[in-house]
């Protein structure tokens, strides 16, 4: 009786409309909250490069916002290392730059955010510079934040995130234990060349004496290669900025 085609079509249309309204309604209501959650997560990732993970996980959302506010300053630079304040007449802020979107452009056209970890209330007294990095792993994109000490060569800390690496293998780049390996490594060779830090093949070797190598991830060679490429690429993109800063540092130290 109720099986006529007309009935089926009408039923389907009503169902679609009802479910569609329900979902778009929820999405609309929740959007501002989701946006806040996303921003908080980005701040956590940025801070993760310079603050131990346990400390961050203990902090409440408000504390993180406050900490970020008082300790992080941000800038936007271009490939030449020049500060950019507006693009196409629109003001740019580092927090609003979508690194993933910029990744699709040619390196010369991208905007590069720089986050400066400084003493509380004093933006001049920088403790570390944090650079977002972005690349691809085995299955999907990977990204992270690399913090350099003020000599612009020694790694202060690093955080990685990923969209779809294999759990237990490539996804291990998010574990503090793996990120710890990058600490105190140097991205410049003794002759002053940018060599980045390279994750090696295989796992379990001790690279503590070698400033440009870190222990690898067994079973996740392609992810590790992605990480290496990502670091190398973005360090090159940020190189001009780093050089500029390096020239500036001795003067500041003399004061």
């Amino acid at each position: 009786m109720q099986q006529s085609n007309a009935y089926i079509i009408i039923f389907s249309v009503i169902l679609t409309v009802v479910l569609g309204l329900l979902l778009s309604g929820t999405s609309e209501v929740l959007k501002p909250i989701q946006k806040k959650a996303e921003e908080l997560d980005t701040k956590k990732q940025i801070l993760g490069a310079v603050v131990p993970a346990e400390q961050i996980s203990r902090m409440k959302a408000e504390e993180i916002n406050q900490f970020y506010e008082s300790r992080i300053a941000s800038k936007v630079v271009n490939i030449a290392g020049e500060e950019v304040e507006e693009q196409d007449g629109v003001q740019v802020t580092a927090e609003n730059i979508d690194v993933a979107k910029n990744y699709k452009k040619a390196p010369e056209d991208r905007l590069y955010p720089v986050f400066i970890f400084h003493e509380e209330g004093n933006e001049e007294a920088a403790n570390a510079y944090i650079f977002p990095v972005y690349g691809s792993g085995l299955w999907d994109n990977i990204w992270g934040y690399l913090a350099l000490q003020t000599d612009m060569a020694t790694i202060e800390g690093i955080t990685f995130s990923h969209a779809g690496e294999t759990p237990g293998l490539g996804a291990r780049i998010t574990s503090p234990e793996v990120q710890q390996r990058y600490k105190e490594k140097s991205i410049y060779s003794e002759s002053g060349e940018l060599v980045s830090v390279v994750m090696q093949k295989g796992e379990g070797k001790d690279y503590s004496g070698e400033p440009h190598k870190v222990d690898g991830l067994s079973g996740a060679t392609i992810t590790a290669e992605g990480v290496n490429k990502m670091l190398k690429n973005y360090l090159e993109h940020y190189q001009s900025y780093m050089e500029r800063k390096k020239e500036g540092t001795p003067k500041m130290a003399l004061n």
Partner: protein, 227 residues
């Protein structure tokens, strides 16, 4: 109506207790005797994927309970209106909408969990337990009974994945809900003593082993044999 696939419950008196014996069975049966994972062996995929740690597993369990109860309720309310020929699509649409709802809520209020679980929450749609109960029960029974049935099945699923997660996190990462249990135990025995964790437990293989052991223990107790 799709009577050929739906289990018909016996004719009922109008005034049945809210939790009569029959209704209690709807909840308790899927816990052990008719457990969706260990007996029907459904929903294994997510049981393997999300169970490395207790916290995401708990969120997953709650999500599945919500989706199953709500979808069973909706389908049961609509059961006389749903055209038989498109009933699977209707079920799918309802389940998918509920899952999207869960995902959106997680994204807003538990972003860390959302990042960790988002793929697997999405996969609740394809969890055979959900569609299975809709098709087998909700299409042929009254709303309240269907809700209980969905709740029971979801609980049966939940306690199994939580048990698996308990062993996997404890054994694989030496912690429970992120609290380092192994470290605290080890420190009781002095400096040199350190309980070792097993990397196998962190990989999906570990879940297979725990699940296999669970099924073994359960079947040797209940005497259940597959026909």
């Amino acid at each position: 109506m799709s009577t050929e696939t739906a289990e018909k419950s016996p004719a009922l008196k109008d005034s049945e207790d809210l939790l009569s014996k029959r209704r209690k069975k709807l909840i308790t049966d899927p816990l052990v005797d008719d457990n969706p994972i260990t007996i029907q062996v459904l929903g294994i995929c997510s049981a393997l994927a999300v169970t490395t740690q207790m916290q995401p597993t708990l969120v997953m369990a709650l999500s599945v309970i919500f989706v199953m109860v709500m979808s069973n309720l909706t389908i049961s309310l609509l059961r006389n209106k749903i055209p038989t020929r498109v009933r699977i699509i209707v079920q799918l649409a309802v389940v998918a909408s509920l899952v999207t709802l869960v995902n959106e809520v997680l994204k807003a209020f538990a972003y860390d969990m959302y990042k960790e679980l988002s793929v697997f929450v999405g996969l609740i749609i394809t969890n055979c337990i959900v569609m299975g109960r809709l098709e087998a029960y909700a299409l042929g029974n009254k709303p309240y009974d269907s809700v209980l049935d969905g709740f029971g099945s979801a609980l049966g699923y939940s306690w199994i994945i939580l048990t698996v997660a308990f062993f996997r996190e404890l054994w694989g990462s030496g912690s429970l809900f992120g609290i380092p249990v192994f470290d605290s135990i080890s420190s009781l025995f002095g400096e040199d003593f350190q309980l070792a964790t097993n990397g196998l437990m962190v990989s999906p293989v570990g879940a297979f082993i725990i699940l296999g052991l669970l099924i073994w223990v359960q079947r040797s107790k209940t005497g259940y044999v597959e026909h």
